[in-house]
Structures are given as structure tokens and as C-alpha cells.
């Protein structure tokens, strides 16, 4: 898009001293900032449409500036709104003779830094679990699993020898009843009973109700 097209896209003051015919900036970003400067100059005079256009056009840039410092998406949006309100409160400090970019960038950056500082002071040692590496966040879960595994090993060790053997062959090694019978020297019936009793003991110990447990006991 040409400079002229960009400049025609919205209201601008009659003269822009830092842009002359002989020295038109080629950088589209600079052209855009000059357009924003013109919109703000118009807003200083009370032009609500120019102001609305300006705020809508600068919002993505404000979002980028906030994202450069803040990771949390909700916090970024708060920082953008904070920057918009600061632009509103400080709109009388903009000098149309000077570039708009540094004016807006300082406001957005300072508000983001202030937000981070306030959050740092307020939150103290708080950390968002979502922001932590997976290994750090999962430490309690790993510890719980280890405790449960240790309890299970102890419970199995306390079972009678025949039940322990049946459980190992049928459940852990996942052998068929025939294979387990051949390996252990127990009959298939005895294996079934031993496995069933072992599972029932463990379920009772860990407070888990098994299907048809009461019936099997009879």
C-alpha cells in the first residue's frame, strides 16, 4: 500500500511537519505510526471517530508489546486495557510534532513492567502450576504412586505362599491357567481359588469392593 493510500485512510491534520514531499518514509511501520500520530492529534481536538479508529488500530501493537514481557494471556489482555486507559489519560502529553511510536511504546512497556512488578510483590512466592515444567508439577503425583506401590508390595508379601504364587503367575506374568498350573504344580481349580482369595484380600486391605465378592465368599 502506498503512503498516499495509507494517509487517505483516515483523518489527519492539515500539515505533518516531520513528513515532507521530499522525504517520505518508505518504512510502512513509520507511515502507520505517522497516521496514528495524526489520529491522536485529531482526538486531542475532540474527534471521537479518529480516536476510536486509533485505539482499535493500536490495540494489536499494544498486545505485541505486552506479550514481549507477559506470558499469561489473560494478564496480557489486562495490560493492553491498562495501556489503552493510560493512552487516554495521557493523550494531552502527545506532541504532534514528534513521532508517535516512542510515545506509545513507552506507555505500553511501562504499564506492562508495572503490572509485572505489582504481581511480583503481591503474589510473593505464588506460581501458576500451568507455567511450571511438567516434571516439577508432577512431583506430588509421582510420590503418591511410589507410596501406593510400596504398600501393594507389602500387602502381597503378607499373602500365603500359594496365593502369592497364583497371583504372580496369573496376574503379573499373565499366563494361562494351564501354563500357570504346569509351572506351579497346583491344579487349575486350586489356582483359581488362590487367585480369587489373593485378590479379595488385597481389595479388602485397600478398601476396594470387588464384583460378586460376597457371593464368592459363600
Amino acid at each position: 500500500m502506498s503512503c498516499a493510500a495509507l494517509l487517505q485512510a483516515g483523518p489527519l491534520p492539515a500539515s505533518r511537519p516531520h513528513m515532507t514531499e521530499s522525504a517520505r518514509p518508505a518504512d510502512p511501520r513509520l507511515v502507520q505510526e505517522m497516521r496514528w500520530g495524526g489520529l491522536l492529534a485529531a482526538a486531542q481536538g475532540g474527534d471521537a471517530r479518529a480516536y476510536d479508529t486509533l485505539l482499535r488500530e493500536v490495540t494489536p501493537r499494544l498486545r505485541l508489546l505486552a506479550r514481549a514481557r507477559i506470558r499469561d494471556a489473560a494478564e496480557v489482555e489486562d495490560a493492553v486495557q491498562d495501556a489503552l486507559m493510560t493512552i487516554h489519560a495521557l493523550r494531552h502529553t502527545y506532541d504532534p510534532e514528534r513521532p508517535f511510536g516512542p510515545w506509545m511504546t513507552t506507555i505500553a512497556t511501562r504499564r506492562a513492567i508495572d503490572r509485572l512488578r505489582r504481581r511480583g510483590r503481591g503474589a510473593g512466592r505464588e506460581s501458576n502450576l500451568d507455567d511450571l515444567p511438567e516434571s516439577a508439577a508432577s512431583v506430588p503425583a509421582v510420590a503418591e504412586e511410589r507410596i501406593a506401590a510400596r504398600d501393594l508390595r507389602e500387602a502381597v508379601a503378607e499373602l500365603p505362599e500359594s496365593q502369592r504364587t497364583a497371583l504372580r503367575l496369573a496376574k503379573l506374568e499373565d499366563l494361562s491357567l494351564a501354563e500357570a498350573s504346569a509351572r506351579s504344580g497346583l491344579s487349575i481349580g486350586a489356582l483359581k481359588v488362590a487367585t480369587h482369595r489373593a485378590m479379595r484380600s488385597l481389595r479388602r486391605r485397600f478398601g476396594v469392593a470387588g464384583k460378586g465378592e460376597d457371593l464368592a465368599d459363600r
Partner: protein
């Protein structure tokens, strides 16, 4: 509130605003005000009896000019830093003048020590009263003029305001109060300037926010 809704509300009834006074003009305005206030204080207190003689001394002239330059540079820097689009490096502007001023006072102490040995040090709360009494209201005056800095650079603007006001008050004090020893000048003038700067740094940001609200 959604960002779109916020933009709609902000732009709905945007009132025309008067642009802030350019920083150099604002600094000159504040310096003129400070000079008038200090001059009134000097007239009320009465000029020191040996003023004519002291003003003839080169090192006295240099010290006075250095203090004045420090105050003026700090004022210019504060008004520039209060605007979002100015460089943070403006904060360094009064530094060479302040160093020159303090080192001049320090040099006076050394010369005095070589000539007369340990100077007779004393307490001069009158000096402190003068500098704090004029420095704090002048600081508040500058904070009022730079209250738009509350959301941008409250820290540097407040301590520069304190430095500007205290340095100008120190110039006024030099016309009023007689201190025999250079070490006394360094301790009581320099100490009082630091007290005003510390007060400004402690409560200035809060004052700026309250004024900007």
C-alpha cells in the same frame, strides 16, 4: 470488560484536551516561580552581612553557579522525563553539575583542613529548616506540574524534582545564612538536599498518583 467495549467507552465522549506545556517552557516557568519564592524568603530573612565580600570570592561564585545549574538541569530533566516519548537518559543531565557542585564543596573542605586543621563543626538546623522549608513546597509544585508522569516514570521524576527544589533553595540559603566552615556547608547544605530528595523519593510517587487522580 472486553477490550472492544473499553475502546467504545473511551472514544464515546472524548473531550478536547489542552496539550501539556513543552518541557523547556515548563521548566523555565517553574524556575521563575522558585526564584520568586526563594527571593521572598531571602528578603524576609535578610541578606547575610558579609554577602558583598563573599560574592567577590571565586570559589563562592563557582559554588553558587554550580548549585543553580544543578537545580536548573534537574528541573529541565524532570519536565522532559515526565513525557512518555523522551529518553530515560534525560535523568543524567544534572549529574555533571551536581558532581561539580559537591566536589567544589569537598575541595573547600580539604583546602580548609590543610590551612586550619580540623574545622569547628557545629549544628545548624536553621540551614536544614530553610532548605526543607522551601524545598518541599517547591518539590510539590513541580510534582503538580508533572503529575502526568505518575503512570510513566514516577521514580526519576520525583527525585529530580526534589534535587531541583533543594538545589535552588540552597542557593537562596547561601545568600541568607553565614556558615564559617566549608565542611559545615557541605554537611548542612548537602545533607538537607539529600533529605529533600529522600522525602521526595519516599512519598513523591504517592503524591504524583494522588495529584493525577
Amino acid at each position: 470488560m472486553q477490550t472492544d467495549e473499553l475502546i467504545r467507552r473511551l472514544s464515546q465522549d472524548v473531550a478536547p484536551v489542552r496539550r501539556v506545556t513543552p518541557p523547556m517552557r515548563a521548566a523555565l516557568g517553574w524556575l521563575a516561580l522558585a526564584a520568586a519564592v526563594i527571593a521572598a524568603g531571602v528578603l524576609i530573612s535578610g541578606l547575610r552581612h558579609d554577602l558583598e565580600h563573599r560574592l567577590m570570592l571565586m570559589h563562592e561564585q563557582v559554588n553558587l553557579l554550580a548549585a543553580l545549574a544543578t537545580g536548573a538541569a534537574a528541573a529541565v530533566a524532570a519536565f522532559h522525563l515526565a513525557l512518555p516519548d523522551r529518553s530515560d537518559r534525560w535523568a543524567l543531565l544534572p549529574l555533571p553539575f551536581a558532581i561539580f557542585w559537591i566536589s567544589g564543596l569537598g575541595w573547600g573542605c580539604i583546602a580548609e583542613f590543610i590551612e586550619r586543621g580540623w574545622p569547628a563543626l557545629g549544628i545548624s538546623f536553621a540551614c536544614m529548616r530553610f532548605i526543607i522549608g522551601f524545598g518541599v513546597p517547591l518539590t510539590l509544585g513541580m510534582l503538580w506540574m508533572t503529575r502526568h508522569a505518575a503512570r510513566i516514570r514516577p521514580g526519576p521524576v520525583t527525585w529530580l524534582a526534589g534535587l531541583a527544589a533543594a538545589a535552588v533553595a540552597s542557593v537562596g540559603l547561601s545568600l541568607v545564612h553565614h556558615l564559617e566552615a566549608a565542611a559545615m556547608v557541605l554537611i548542612w547544605h548537602g545533607g538537607s538536599v539529600l533529605v529533600v530528595m529522600a522525602l521526595s523519593r519516599l512519598w513523591g510517587a504517592r503524591a504524583l498518583r494522588a495529584m493525577a487522580a
